[in-house]
């Protein structure tokens, strides 16, 4: 009835530098994760990944980002939360996903947990490596 994923990666880079990379779509493209139809309005960013529209809202004060998919036919809902905090030796990047797959989706909750855990860890690692440059 619900999927949950929680992944963490540590970057050997300061918090501000990690935050700058994590919120820069040009950096995502350099990391091999380009997005389409990008539109920014203040702290709110909309773009497409695969066929789905994604909205990200940044909270610079708390160094967090809330992201959700809009109008997906695969997910009933998919909420991501990204946290960034200073830890010994650098910055911890964390992503929590809460979601539910639609009836008839190509994958069930457990299968998508495995996919998202792998994908999100890859995204965080790519962000961390870029921030370390």
């Amino acid at each position: 009835m619900a999927g949950h994923v929680d992944v963490r990666v540590v970057a050997r880079a300061p918090l501000d530098q990690v935050w700058a990379v994590a919120t820069d779509p040009a950096a995502w493209a350099r990391a091999g994760h380009p997005v389409a139809d990008l539109e920014r309005r203040g702290d709110r960013l909309r773009f497409r990944v695969g066929g789905d529209l994604v909205e990200r809202v940044e909270d610079a004060r708390h160094r967090t980002v809330a992201s959700r998919r809009l109008g997906s036919d695969q997910f009933v809902y998919c909420h991501l939360w990204f946290g960034h905090q200073a830890v010994a030796g650098g910055t911890e990047l964390r992503c929590v996903a809460d979601f539910e797959m639609a009836p008839g989706a190509v994958a069930g909750d457990a299968e998508m947990e495995a996919v998202l855990a792998r994908t999100l860890r890859g995204n965080l690692e790519a962000t961390a490596r870029l921030a370390e440059r």
């Binding site: 929680d6 809202v57 809330a66 959700r68 809009l70 909420h79 939360w81 809460d98």
Partner: protein, 155 residues
């Protein structure tokens, strides 16, 4: 390290009425019995409303207040909401769906959240509180909206 609640109720009223009433934030002090003292809309556009909620003071006399944002998708009958001012939480995410069924409208509330370290409650204590509150407030929604439907209000 995070918590999840999922509750639903069927309300014997048309989806349009349930949608309109449940999304009328200014009515929340009536729809969430004993929970919110005030709900003030700060910003509203077609599919998004940002508002400040203030709780009824607890046994210690303290009231809490924070800003939340609801994003509405009328076509799908879904609402996604989050606390903009997270306060003692790292995050609070809500998903709500409104589904027409033969018996009326099924209203479902899903919440995912995590308490910050140092919050005055644990995830599990808050999960129990939110779970019990959701069940009571869904019943309250049903009672209020079914009374409106019975009095001939259609939306």
């Amino acid at each position: 390290m995070s918590a999840h609640t999922d509750n639903e109720i069927v309300i014997a009223a048309p989806l349009a009425l349930v949608w309109d009433v449940a999304n009328d934030v200014q009515r929340w002090p009536e729809l969430f019995a004993g929970e919110y003292a005030a709900a003030e809309v700060l910003e509203r556009d077609e599919d998004r409303v940002r508002f400040r909620l203030t709780t009824v003071p607890g046994p210690d006399g303290r009231a809490y207040s924070w800003v939340s944002e609801r994003c509405l998708d009328r076509g799908r009958g879904t609402v996604e909401a989050r606390r903009v001012e997270p306060g003692p939480f790292r995050y609070v995410h809500l998903f709500q769906s409104f589904t027409a069924t033969p018996a009326g409208t099924r209203l479902r509330w899903v919440q995912d959240f995590e308490a910050r370290p140092g919050a005055p409650f644990t995830d599990e204590a808050m999960r129990r509180r939110i779970d019990a509150g959701a069940r009571a407030n869904l019943r309250r929604h049903r009672d209020v909206i079914e009374a409106l439907a019975a009095s001939g209000v259609s939306r």
